[in-house]
Homo-oligomer: 330 residues x 2
């Protein structure tokens, strides 16, 4: 059980879910629009990109206590987590040479890779500075953002090393997405639950749930690269393979279709050959079935949490959002 | 006055200067050589580069208490600061497209920019994780590494924006070096003094001293780019101008020689034209005189500190090292 300690200069009253989300948006916007003048042009550019704030929402939902209130420190951490996520995206776009993100031209495309490297560093620092500003210092250190962030780095590096590796195993693939995507969902759920007054055992359940949601998010994202249009995804699609990122639907095809891997190793395949192989092998069906299995596990975990029905509904709502089964904003 | 709180699982005895420096080396080496397997090849590459550990040494010297002992937390922070510095160098080399650093081929040159961006991120996280592991959590938060790091980012960005800007003012130049170099010296002196049991007023003096040493370090470095050979500097020399980095000796020449700036704006100058102009205008003499002025300020600050003669000697020794007046390892 976490002791709540609030400094006298902070609001002492707890906050509702809707107010909390609003405050997170304000905090993130403030960090981006009130950055030091020299960097503001670049951070302002990031405001325009449409974030769904899924990690922040997850943290806030998990932070709700039995009375439906949210501790002010959870808001600070949710904003810090979104900025941390944004920092990883800015560096990601440098690494992937991406042009489009969240419906906007990327920082690296508009202002160059050098600027984007520095801006990513700046956002990383801004995030950790914000996280360290929470009133109960012990809480900040228990949550350990830098540790989660280093997991993201390891995931990114593993992906980069396996760029274009058609021999990549499912095990390696899951190691990559556990780091690059699931780590920050895990952080969101853990940090949120920490402020809801959860005990040690419950905290582990929340962490698991966060991890699963992260995996569902990434598997679904990997399917969307094959299925959707740029307008819907608000980022480049039909592009993972072209960037050397070998995802689960394609890994399945490479395993299932005799001779396909050899052909792919000999010469680069066209997008239609890739799509055809994924379709013939049932790669998307296989990946969706895996999503379904994780989805069931998540529902099971939620059902066993000792929380209000309202909080359960919110958790299911965010689960549906990461699985793209719902477009509601709950 | 800082209350010293040491966890029971840490060595409870204080440590001498020599032991402390040895422990910092061990900690940094351990972080680099025992990193997760996937990243170890790259972090191992960094072990081979010859660091002078000036920031860590500064922190340790400042951390000496009246009995000449050093708190174990100061060792952790000194190692974390060196790793933080290393992270900035790795990203710096990406931005500057540098081939050589500390006598070794750079990570970005050997393994590519993408890998170097991720490795820099990883080291940044590893540093902050290590800093957060100190036994007295309040101390960690008071020192606020992410804040210093964001100053470095702002300095780097300002330098990048002013790349090739021959109209750069001395004011802008000092803003750049205050961030990119002086911020981490300031951090080293502040964090060290914090553990020595210094009071608020003394802490401010140490911070000033750290800042001044950082400025001296950078001004001297800028002179060396004109004066020394690659073998001595263990990095590329005669290269700042070619990379668009306009430093003080050249700024002086641009101001002093009539028509020189116009000529430089019209067409890129050769290295011999640059060297000649810097020499004719006395740009190096001007910069060295400024170093001398900061050097005197630093000596003055040291003389007024209420510390042992031995600690004063060590501080002067590190001052001489940053001004390249001494090659002793004190």
């Amino acid at each position: 059980m976490i002791e709540k300690s609030v400094k006298t200069d902070e609001p002492t009253k707890d906050i509702s879910y809707e107010e909390a989300i609003e405050l997170v948006h304000t905090k993130v916007d403030h960090t981006l629009t009130k950055a030091p003048i020299i960097i503001r042009k670049y951070t302002n550019h990031l405001v325009s990109s449409k974030s769904k704030f899924i990690r922040a929402k997850s943290l806030i939902i998990c932070a709700e206590d039995k009375q439906g209130n949210i501790h002010p420190n959870a808001i600070t951490l949710a904003a810090a987590l979104e900025i941390l996520h944004l920092a990883t995206l800015v560096h990601d776009d440098v690494i992937d040479n991406a042009d489009l993100r969240r419906g906007s031209i990327t920082l690296q495309k508009k202002y160059g890779k050098k600027t984007a490297v520095i801006c990513g560093d700046y956002l990383l620092c801004a995030s950790l500075k914000m996280a360290a500003s929470i009133s109960n210092k012990e809480d900040y250190l228990s949550i350990n953002f830098p540790d989660y962030m280093s997991k993201v780095c390891i995931g990114e590096l593993t992906q980069h090393i396996n760029n274009g590796n058609l021999d990549i195993s499912m095990y390696q693939y899951f190691k990559i997405i556990s780091g690059k995507t699931a780590a920050l969902f895990d952080a969101a759920f853990y940090a949120g639950a920490y402020f809801s007054g959860s005990n040690e055992k419950e905290l582990i359940q929340y962490k698991k749930l966060g991890y699963i949601l992260g995996i569902i998010f990434q598997l679904t994202d990997d399917c969307l690269d094959f299925e959707t249009t740029e307008t819907v995804a608000m980022k480049s699609v039909q592009s993972d393979y072209e960037q050397g990122v070998i995802t689960l639907p394609l890994i399945h095809a490479l395993h299932e279709i005799a001779g396909f891997k050899d052909k792919a190793i000999r010469s680069e395949l066209s997008r239609s050959e890739i799509n055809d192989a994924v379709s013939r092998s049932g790669g998307l069906f296989f990946t969706r079935r895996m999503v379904q299995s994780y989805y069931s596990k998540a529902l099971h975990l939620i059902s066993y949490l000792d929380i209000t029905e309202n909080k359960k509904e919110k958790l299911i709502s965010v689960l549906n959002q990461v699985a793209r089964l719902s477009l509601t904003n709950f």
